[in-house]
Subunit: 339 residues, 2 copies
DNA sequence: TTGAAAGCGCTAACAA
DNA sequence: TTGTTAGCGCTTTCAA
């Protein structure tokens, strides 16, 4: 195993002190008025010896890691996977790497990964928060660690966030269904008090009201987090069968629920949109290209990611210390699942 | 900002030396015969003061990070997203965190992220390699850094890998199409010399031979990496239109190509399976739940991930230094896209 | 059974 | 314009 070259090695070869080498290799030669000749010599030596700074030593000394932590629900999920992709891309442009973790919407796991990221001293955090994280998150904010929340936030957490207008997105979905003649609009959502979901429920209710449709708790199904995929499908199947004659359409409040919903509908032989109309919050390949195409409320995933990174890096660089609340708009995409 | 507690702080409070605290907190009290009373006292203090080891100091001293690096083509891709998910899960069980990066099958990016991971001194690497990485990878192997390749490997790289039987998977797909009466089987694959793809091509050729079908280069389409999604669709569309009357079925060699292929087919109004039959390497939600369901050669994603982590961690722990070559089997899933 | 001290590689304050 | 030195927090050898 070839020994790694350190600043000391270079200093020795160059016949100068450690400090000089450090300064030059950190691009501060001009500031410190190191002679051009010296600068060139050291730079060349650094390249020739293939010097790679020791990340630990640097971190230990400066406290900086050039890494940001990203916590999402599930990296395999379409929304979060694509979000993560753009976050990485944007961060990379600015010289940061990102460390992803999936919270799985699970209390223990959430807290565990956040602590772990804090231990590893990320320079900043982009987090789709869970309730279990609240205490840790509060501490983070209090200590003025750069952080921006995504997808949802907590009122009592005085932090920046980037979200979308969930209420209006849902409202539009429901209005659209109503406009197409549907009156018995079922809702399939998650059993959670996470804001994005309560807002989607709220939008559903507002939409009904606006369309003068009576709210019926019976045709609202709330599915707990943490069920296996098969069990989610099962729950939805049972819900649909139970309300077969009471509903004419279903609004799924997420990607995952929608996919499971399609599976459920298929397995009980319901045809979209002939037997039942369907609309979903969040887009994906299945909705876009499946037959029939599923109408969706689509989120500007790239914009969310870009904005989150932008705000975070500003905070890290202290260029801005103001708390930003960004709310982006959704877009209703009509396909063939509503009739 | 509350100052972080260090071993020194605890030592001071406990009235003992730094060393003792370090030993106890690392669970080596028994080995070093530290008295029970002392052990308990320090442990309690550590908990009370909420001691969190400094990752940099530890890493600087020991060279260990408890982090593994994972390089995939694209974290937003179904296959790699799910793979990453399981890798994280498995690694977590063993006390490791994982740092994901997407190579985007791009030369510069590949090399860049590998270097970056090496700089950050991962304890081990799980890599879907690209050609551009070869020199760095070779160095890694020579320095006996734990690493296992996934999805593909390079003969000249003497390293462990976990892959699937691509040749047989493709062969089965082609045989299946032939058995269903197809003779003009087009292939849509990537223009690359990456092993998983050349093997799938090889399997296609073997399948044709076995079914006594003449190979026709004209109905093999190779799409370069790095095109935008729309352009991939466009390329496939043109290919299909050009060969409209010459083909009765298409075999897509990946997830991404299949999705783009479905989009292309739809946009030119070709119905599956009436106008054309389709089969794809790799599964996803669209293939599983779309109408019609797309028949696929499915990979055991979880097993690949688990095996890769298992082998890697063994290497890290020096429990095993032997190079392992794992080749898992695919499964042909028949749905409705072939007639 | 415990402690002192060296040193991992780097940066930055201070000297020269 | 460059060098000396202290110290970031930790582990480990050697000594007591």
């Amino acid at each position: 195993m070839t020994k790694k070259v350190s600043l000391k090695d270079i200093a020795a070869k160059a016949g100068v002190s450690l400090t000089t080498v450090s300064i030059v290799l950190n691009g501060r030669a001009k500031d410190m008025k190191i002679s051009e000749a010296m600068t060139r010599k050291i730079l060349a030596l650094g390249k020739k010896m293939n010097y790679r700074p020791n990340h630990f030593a640097k971190g230990l000394r400066t406290g900086k890691t050039n890494t940001i932590g990203l916590i999402v629900d599930d990296i395999a999920n379409y929304f979060f996977g694509h979000l993560a992709n753009t976050v990485e891309e944007e961060a990379d442009k600015l010289g940061y790497t990102v460390m992803f973790c999936s919270s799985e919407n699970n209390e223990g796991k959430s807290r565990h990964i956040l602590n772990m990221l804090v231990d590893k001293q990320m320079d900043g955090y982009i987090i789709a928060p869970t309730k279990a994280m609240l205490p840790e998150l509060q501490k983070l904010i209090k200590e003025k660690k750069p952080a921006v929340l995504i997808d949802r936030y907590y009122e009592l957490l005085d932090s920046s966030y980037v979200t979308i207008d969930n209420i209006n997105g849902s409202l539009e979905a429901v209005n659209y269904l109503a406009k197409m003649g549907h009156r018995r609009i079922a809702l399939v959502t998650n059993l959670t008090d996470q804001l994005q979901m309560t807002q989607r429920l709220e939008g559903y209710q507002q939409g009904l009201k606006k369309s003068k449709i009576q709210l019926d708790q019976e045709i609202i199904k709330k599915i707990p987090f943490g069920l296996s995929d098969e069990n989610v499908v099962k729950e939805i199947k049972e819900f649909i069968k139970l309300n077969e004659n009471k509903i004419d359409s279903i609004f799924f409040t997420s990607n995952n629920l929608g996919v499971a919903g399609l599976e459920a509908l298929r397995s009980i032989g319901k045809k979209i949109p002939d037997d039942i109309s369907v609309i979903c919050f969040d887009d994906n390949d299945l909705f876009r290209l499946g037959m029939p195409g599923i109408s969706v409320v689509s989120q500007p995933i790239k914009d969310i990611a870009k904005k989150a990174v932008e705000i975070l890096i500003q905070q890290i660089n202290q260029r801005s210390t103001t708390i930003e609340h960004i709310v982006l708009n959704t877009a209703l995409i009509e396909r063939e699942s509503v009739k």
